[in-house]
Symmetry: C2
Subunit: 455 residues, 2 copies
């Protein structure tokens, strides 16, 4: 037994330390298949804060890197193992510790699955909005690590908006509490938000106080077909300029629609260039949808089809949620971009992405959280074809360059991981990068937490 | 002319550097009269980013402390001068640089007055929610410095929720951009939120990208009278547990009501122990108010009076906004607490505050952003009476101790300044304090920015 394994077992039950290479290899990577991943020395599955502290103290003593993991549904390689690291899986810390309807808060461990929390708070008439497409698998800890978004963001914002306070185990094993359990609080610097989206590079979240909302009415959706992605982008702007507050505003292009039909046999319209889904969870969603339908037609929609029932609306949302899996199921492999631009530049972003597709001779399926200006151009390529792979990487980069040019960001919700490190430096600029590295140095002076990510 | 003045004038117009002691003395303090304040060596009033950079470069070269200031309406002494410092007033950087209805964003300089921005965006059908009571005077830069709240927070959150990106001049004069201009973005650590609420101790905000909302319908309010503050706190919990989303939920106790009547002759009921104001800006506020009225009665309200008109509602809000001035106008002087507790502990907080008042034999007027659990107990005392002053400080501290005991924070929205330094350390604990000091050291290694505040 290695010294590392022996020391880990001093503070963890035997079944919480895995070292069989066949088993540990299965923890090596998230869903970004093409990102490099190392070979872990061990996988630990703690059940308590004290056990996490023991892992970090051991790692610090032996100078071993630690990679915190949730459900590994990430799309940037942020949870990928480093060679010789300890993979710190939080999956067994999956207790919901409290739900308080008067305070509209929940207290959870990091391994709670998003959908499990959502259903649990629903029973109290409450709602936890953040809903990444992987919500049936992904964990709250992982959501916090990436500041995950989802379909609800256009009205309800991202995970960051729902994290009030955290308990974090630092690199050296000390426990720090950040933030608060209250609706408001400004005592000192906002350390909570520093950890949200830090991709496991600053500390290990072991407990979170989350804000909840009252459960909204069920939403009703429409689908509008457009002759061009730019026309759909124009419709998005018209809707927002008119003061509407949709609960969902999603776009799928023709490539995406075909892929979804192939996977799900849903019979979405394939002759249209762009399908826009808009939903409302207001007191009279039918009236809101009627007004939005008119705005879509004014922007050039060839057809506007409101869902008749909640079930029909839910079917449209399922189509959108299946996009990632549908594009993954296409022949070859995919690289998914995550560029977010100001909403007013969405049409430019969509047209520019089509130009990139043409220039590099590659299929790029686009879906977008259109209401947020957050596009997911998915570059499809044959990984066995060297030239196509090179072109795919160039196209992937060209899309990020375009996003920055349009005043946007290289990542709206998926994070940087190992996939966009070079681009993070470009977006932050030298002063910003220096300060972010300073933060990392402050909180993880030995560089043990999730090394090789972000910077 | 001192070397400091000479160097400052090399990069600033003559009218932007004030050194007349009678003039500079008027910039020495904010509205927390009883907090210590030093004597500034100079006051500078830059109009551009470059001028701010010149000030910080000069200060760094000469090792002179700099105290950034907005309208000095703060309540914790956070903008108070240090001896020999340069007061850096951002009041002349007051341009609204852009308002974009499709993106629902505004780009502003720090000296823009809150109410000026509110009215400007209203003309585009948009709304900037944060509304501190001082909104007609206070600046966006000051609001960012304190992460200011207001009456709207129960539905719309605090300033922090509306800051998407910042341009910040660092202590050494370098310019750093943080965040984004987009609805979403997770590229690297959230440095934006680190500056929000940092009370001018980490950098000088010179430009902000703010999120806006569509303008909500006008709100309609009710006033409910309760036989005890605890009963009002119970009503607050019942309303929130029932899934309502009020746009305002404010409480005034009898001392406060009398003080407001003395100042404004408004004729608020003085025989009641606690008056709860609740408002809705929903599609049918009358129906929501009727439901809430019933909940108030179930919680023991002796009388529930819904406003008949928007004008009547606005009058109730004006009463609440005048509280600070009304309590200030009482004989003697006041110290205003800002404790925020979980909403479910509001009744305990209010009863505990009454016990503190009795124990120390002092009048303590309480108003509260009740929906947020954010109470403002205001300790009234005669500053010329040594014993009363000592008791006032003890009562002020006892209230913060009670807040922490109930799982709350020592400051919901006013910040730490010089007033609550010792208490910040208590709330954060040693590990939290060490990390916050590390952040300060990273961004301001010479300790020149607003020294003596927070820690």
């Amino acid at each position: 037994m290695s010294e590392l394994t022996a020391r880990l077992r001093e503070g963890l039950p035997a079944d919480a330390v895995l070292t069989d290479p066949d088993v540990t290899a299965s923890y090596a990577r998230d869903m970004a298949d093409f990102c490099p991943a190392g070979t872990p020395a061990a996988v630990v599955l703690p059940r308590s804060v004290e056990e996490v502290q023991h892992v970090m103290r051991t790692a610090t003593a032996l100078r071993v890197p630690v990679v915190p993991q949730g459900a590994r549904t990430g799309l940037s390689g942020a949870a990928n193992a480093a060679d010789g690291c300890v993979v710190l899986s939080l999956l067994r810390m999956d207790r919901i510790l409290a739900i308080n309807p008067a305070d509209r808060t929940a207290v959870v461990e990091p391994g709670v699955v998003n959908a499990v929390l959502t259903r649990a708070v629903n029973e109290h008439g409450l709602h936890y909005p953040p809903d990444p497409s992987s919500w049936e698998q992904c964990t709250i800890g992982g959501n916090i690590g990436t500041a995950a978004g989802g379909l609800c963001c256009v009205k309800y914002g991202v995970t960051a908006e729902y994290v009030l306070g955290l308990d974090v185990v630092l690199a050296d094993g000390r426990l720090m509490s950040t933030g608060r359990s209250t609706a408001k609080g400004v005592a000192g610097y906002d350390m909570t938000r520093l950890f949200v989206g830090s991709e496991g590079s600053l500390g290990v979240v072991v407990r979170a106080v989350l804000a909840l909302r009252p459960r909204p009415p069920r939403q009703l959706a429409l689908a509008a077909e457009f002759p061009s992605a730019a026309a759909a982008g124009d419709a998005v702007c018209r809707v927002m300029e008119s003061g509407h507050v949709p609960s969902l505003m999603e776009l799928m292009d023709r490539t995406t629609l075909r892929a979804v039909n192939d996977l799900t046999k849903m019979g979405l319209p394939e002759s249209t260039e762009a399908l826009l889904l808009v939903a409302f969870d207001t007191h009279d969603p039918g009236a809101d949808l009627a007004a939005v339908g008119e705005l879509c037609e004014a922007a050039g929609a060839s057809q506007v089809v409101p869902a008749e029932t909640e079930a029909e609306s839910e079917l449209l949302l399922q189509a959108r949620r299946s996009v990632h899996y549908a594009l993954e199921a296409l022949p070859g492999t995919t690289m998914i971009d995550d560029v977010c631009v100001p909403r007013s530049r969405l049409a430019d972003m969509l047209e520019g992405t089509a130009a990139v597709s043409e220039k590099y001779g590659l299929t790029i399926g686009v879906c977008a959280h259109a209401g947020d200006g957050n596009t997911h151009p998915t570059v499809c390529f044959d990984p066995d074809d060297e030239d196509e792979t090179r072109r795919a990487h160039e196209a992937f980069d060209a899309i990020m360059a375009l996003g920055l040019e349009l005043g946007g960001t290289i990542t709206g919700e998926h994070g940087v991981g190992v996939l966009k490190k070079e681009w993070l430096a470009r977006e932050l600029g030298p002063v910003g990068l220096e300060m972010q590295r300073g933060i990392k140095q402050l909180l993880d002076p030995l560089g043990l937490l999730n090394p090789g990510k972000l910077f």
